[in-house]
């Protein structure tokens, strides 16, 4: 069992000034998840008639991409290859002070406390993150085009991005390159996506710039902090795709 000090960012809404506030929690089990520890804090605050700390979460198993905390200076906390909801308290020790902040990026404004607005990611996807095929069901048989296992596996790896935004939060320029490159790569690797590859990469990069994400200077922090270990090769592939498209278009 642990007793902990929490320093948490509180901000009433997008327009208000925020600040760090200090809380204590006691008797935290090492088997709890990080979010369950925050549940304990919130239950405590509610019982005291106070406003609980707002944070995004839903699946609590590392797949929806909702949870998004900056813990002790690291997106999704100290462990590698996991989301905050998969972080367990056994990573901490009794007496620790833990700093909890929201994602910080111009393109992700704070909504309340630890909750940020990530709809910029949705808009990037809307600008081209798809194959333009109608859902009429009148497509060709799924096995008509064999896809080399290696391409299929690489496309799958890129496709596992959960859209959490940790890459942006980790990057000193708040760049969204890893996120965008994951989708561009997935679809560029598959025959179904190749038809529109040039428009796709141009449109998605343009939208990314419009949203106010920073430039990529290849520091690689994004991939290190990415809970799904999306590889930097995807950024290299995006750059090639972009160059090719810019030259031909």
């Amino acid at each position: 069992m642990m007793n902990l000090t929490l320093k948490i960012w509180r901000q009433a809404d997008a327009k208000s000034q925020g600040k760090m506030e200090t809380f204590k929690v006691t008797e935290i089990s090492e088997h709890m998840s990080f979010l369950e520890m925050l549940d304990v804090l919130n239950e405590q605050l509610i019982n005291e008639g106070k406003d609980p700390v707002a944070f995004d979460h839903d699946c609590r198993e590392g797949i929806c991409g909702a949870c998004s905390l900056y813990i002790n200076g690291q997106p999704h906390g100290p462990d590698r290859a996991i989301t905050t909801c998969q972080l367990h308290m056994r990573t901490f020790k009794d007496g620790d002070t833990i700093y909890i902040e929201p994602w910080r990026a111009k393109a992700f404004p704070v909504i309340k406390d630890l909750v940020v607005d990530r709809t910029a990611f949705d808009r990037i996807m809307q600008s081209g993150g798809y194959v333009s095929v109608n859902t009429s069901g009148n497509t060709i048989d799924a096995n008509a085009i064999p896809i080399p296992k290696e391409d299929a596996d690489n496309a799958f790896d890129a496709a596992t991005c959960i859209g959490c935004g940790a890459c942006v939060a980790a990057c000193k320029n708040a760049s969204a390159m890893l996120f965008v490159s994951a989708k561009v790569s997935q679809l560029a690797l598959l025959p179904q996506g190749k038809v529109e590859r040039q428009d796709r990469v141009l449109n998605m990069v343009e939208q990314m710039d419009k949203e106010g994400f920073g430039n990529c200077t290849n520091t690689g922090a994004c991939s290190i902090e990415c809970p799904k270990e999306i590889s930097l090769e995807n950024i290299a592939r995006l750059n090639r795709e972009y160059l090719m498209a810019s030259l031909t278009k």
Partner: protein
């Protein structure tokens, strides 16, 4: 009173769907532009419906409570999606998938709907591949399959343990494309809090903008509810934290019948709970039962030694292990359907053979599969006389390629390495087969209000087979609803836009505001979670894996009691017009407290056992579920009359023309 008319088309089962499509009304493309459709939900059912309706020309408004439609609960589905493609040439067919689903559902589903589901299933895979969904492939570049419980063929398509994610991102991308064209308007962080009826038809919704807290009105010619299942009535389940019944329940209170609320799926392979602080349970995909063997010790002493940490499971010799599923069900072994596997685990644990401290866990062991795959790989790679360690290593790699993310997830939660020591698993609430009653067109008993995906009751009877929910969600959304909705909308080509200034919108909005105000002004002393946990405990103890009349009657009284206390003593902090997650939770739990009672009442009034609904009073000598087809071959559809205890039962008789009713056997 609405009469239950399933609108099942005439004719031979294999021709019903085609005939129906030829006979129903359609809206011509020019007129579709004048028609608005609200789709609530952005999971597989909602996102696919929204995309398809928009492509056809309707104006769509889509709602979800998450910050992005891509985060709908479907994202968490792991194991796979069924389709009768027969790529493995193992004798699969539309009929076989239909048969397996009806049998798996313990003969409590509507034949015609299930047949249609099987019929369109193959198309789903074509569609998804065309969208760029990266399904698993073999070395020849063709799609790979695995098996799921309750069937004897390999028809499950998958993308590692992230099939739901990949399918949902496919549907999300199709919808994103339509958002880009302006045909879908997306409202994320919006929660539907009521359905608005005008002249008896569903013509809009009242939603709360979860950022500003404003209560907003939205009108449309029809409303589709694709709002998922209600397993969270148990507090602990494998569902996402936000999954809830509010949209369906509010429609129910406005006149939509709620069908078979007590049909719940308790999934056999979940990570056992670890303490009172537990906020949710994590599923370990059923696909693991392809390769994992389930066992407990044969002797109680060994189980006790393991529980007390004096013995390790790997040290218990083969002959002292009881592979109880293989023993009891030699034909299906570890791949019996979920309800059967869950009850068998409970039976062993109740008898004292459980293997963790709580006594509520059994093993899922991959040792045999690792050796088998390792040997296979060694042969393929022409390694002569491989050492045991080499084989193990090769085998672990194969297992990793199949289930890597699940193994990682398990290790993160439990701090144990499942490649080295068997996983511990226990059943948990996972899926609700019950839901809003719908006819063959997926329309509820409210004209113009449709239900799709897990929110409806239609295809899985009393037990759902693994990998069939994803299939149903996408079938409903891509291939069924976009056509059947035309039958209703054809009357609306001259209606013009639905005004939200009408007295009906006004009155419904007022009710919503009053409901929220009363929660906020209650100023009690206990948190929403406090009541939710109490409700969950009653549901699990008395309305869970096995049920009896006495327990159910107690549950009915206890749930009412908790509901009364909730309204007296709940404390909801914050205000209406701000971002307020506690207020969101309070509204959801208030609805669970009503649904819970109807759920227990439904279970009480079905004294037979069927599928996931096990009544202790109705079992065979061997302890298997005993159905009563003479008296209970019907769908229970409940009508709201003002209080769950007075809900009125309507019966849709189930007739089976194409499948013979048999007592299910997996022996």
């Amino acid at each position: 009173m609405t009469k239950l008319n399933s609108k099942t088309p005439d004719g031979p089962i294999a021709e019903k769907w085609t005939n129906h499509k030829n006979n129903i009304n359609v809206v011509n493309p020019a007129n579709k532009r004048n028609i608005d459709v609200i789709v609530v939900g952005s999971g597989l059912a909602g996102a696919s419906a929204a995309a398809s309706l928009a492509e056809m020309g309707y104006n769509v408004k889509n709602f979800c409570f998450q910050d992005s439609p891509r985060r709908a609960h479907s994202i968490a589905a792991q194991g796979g999606i069924n389709a009768a493609k027969n790529y493995q040439n193992d004798g699969d067919s539309t009929y076989r998938l239909f048969y397996d689903t009806v049998k798996g559902g313990d003969y409590r589903a509507r034949e015609s709907n299930v047949y249609r589901l099987a019929e369109v299933s193959a198309n789903i895979i074509d569609q998804c591949v065309a969208q760029g969904v990266p399904f698993a492939r073999d070395y020849g570049g063709l799609l790979d399959n695995r098996s799921f419980g309750g069937v004897l063929v390999s028809r499950t398509f998958y993308a590692k343990g992230q099939t739901g994610q990949q399918l949902l991102l496919g549907a999300y991308s199709a919808m994103s494309r339509q958002i880009n064209t302006g045909k879908v308007k997306m409202y994320n962080r919006h929660e539907m809090l009521d359905l608005v009826l005008v002249d008896g038809k569903a013509r809009g919704i009242i939603a709360r903008n979860l950022i500003t807290g404003n209560i907003e009105r939205y009108g449309a010619h029809a409303v589709v509810l694709a709002t998922g299942g209600y397993g969270n009535v148990f507090f602990l389940s494998t569902n996402a934290m936000g999954s809830n019944v509010t949209a369906a329940w509010r429609a129910h209170r406005r006149g939509a019948y709620f069908a078979n609320p007590c049909y719940t799926q308790i999934h056999p392979t979940c990570i056992p709970r670890s303490g009172d602080y537990q906020s949710k349970l994590t599923l370990m995909s059923e696909s693991l039962r392809n390769d994992g063997r389930i066992w407990v010790p044969k002797e109680k002493e060994d189980a006790i030694a393991i529980r007390e940490g004096r013995m390790k499971p790997v040290d218990l010799p083969e002959e002292k292990r009881d592979y109880y599923l293989e023993r009891r069900y030699p034909a299906f072994g570890n791949l019996v359907p979920r309800d059967v596997a869950s009850r068998a685990a409970k039976e062993r644990c109740d008898a004292g053979y459980g293997v963790n401290q709580t006594g509520e866990a059994v093993y899922l062991d991959f040792t045999a599969a690792i050796l088998r795959y390792g040997q296979e790989r060694a042969n393929i790679l022409h390694i002569k006389n491989p050492s045991a360690a080499e084989i193990k290593d090769l085998g672990e790699k194969v297992i990793e390629s199949k289930y890597g993310n699940l193994f990682q997830m398990y290790e993160k939660i439990t701090d144990e390495n499942p490649y080295k020591t068997p996983m511990m698993i226990y059943p948990a609430v996972h899926y609700t087969m019950g839901g809003l009653w719908v006819d063959y067109n997926l329309m509820t008993t409210i004209p113009g209000c449709y239900a799709a995906g897990e929110a409806n009751f239609s295809d899985h009877g009393a037990n759902r087979l693994g990998a069939s929910a994803l299939m149903q969600g996408l079938a409903d959304g891509y291939f069924v609803l976009p056509y059947t909705i035309g039958d209703f909308l054809a009357d609306d080509i001259r209606t013009g836009p639905i005004s939200t200034d009408s007295p009906e919108f006004e009155a419904t909005e007022k009710e919503v505001k009053e409901r929220l105000d009363s929660l906020l002004n209650n100023k009690g002393t206990k948190s929403v979670d406090f009541f939710h946990k109490r409700l969950g405990k009653v549901m699990w103890d008395k309305v869970g894996m096995s049920r009896n009349a006495e327990g159910l009657k107690e549950a009915l009284a206890e749930i009412r009691q908790i509901r009364e206390e909730f309204y007296k003593d709940v404390f909801v902090p914050g205000t209406m017009h701000s971002f307020n997650p506690e207020l969101e939770k309070a509204g959801r739990v208030a609805d669970f407290l009503e649904l819970g009672e109807l759920f227990a009442k439904d279970a009480l009034e079905r004294p037979e056992s069927c599928g996931g609904h096990f009544r202790e009073e109705s079992q065979t000598e061997e302890g298997e579920a005993l159905r009563d087809d003479t008296n209970f071959a019907f769908v229970s559809a409940w009508e709201w009359t003002g209080d769950p205890k007075d809900s009125q039962l309507h019966k849709e008789e189930l007739t089976f023309n194409d499948i013979e009713l048999k007592q299910r056997s997996y022996k």
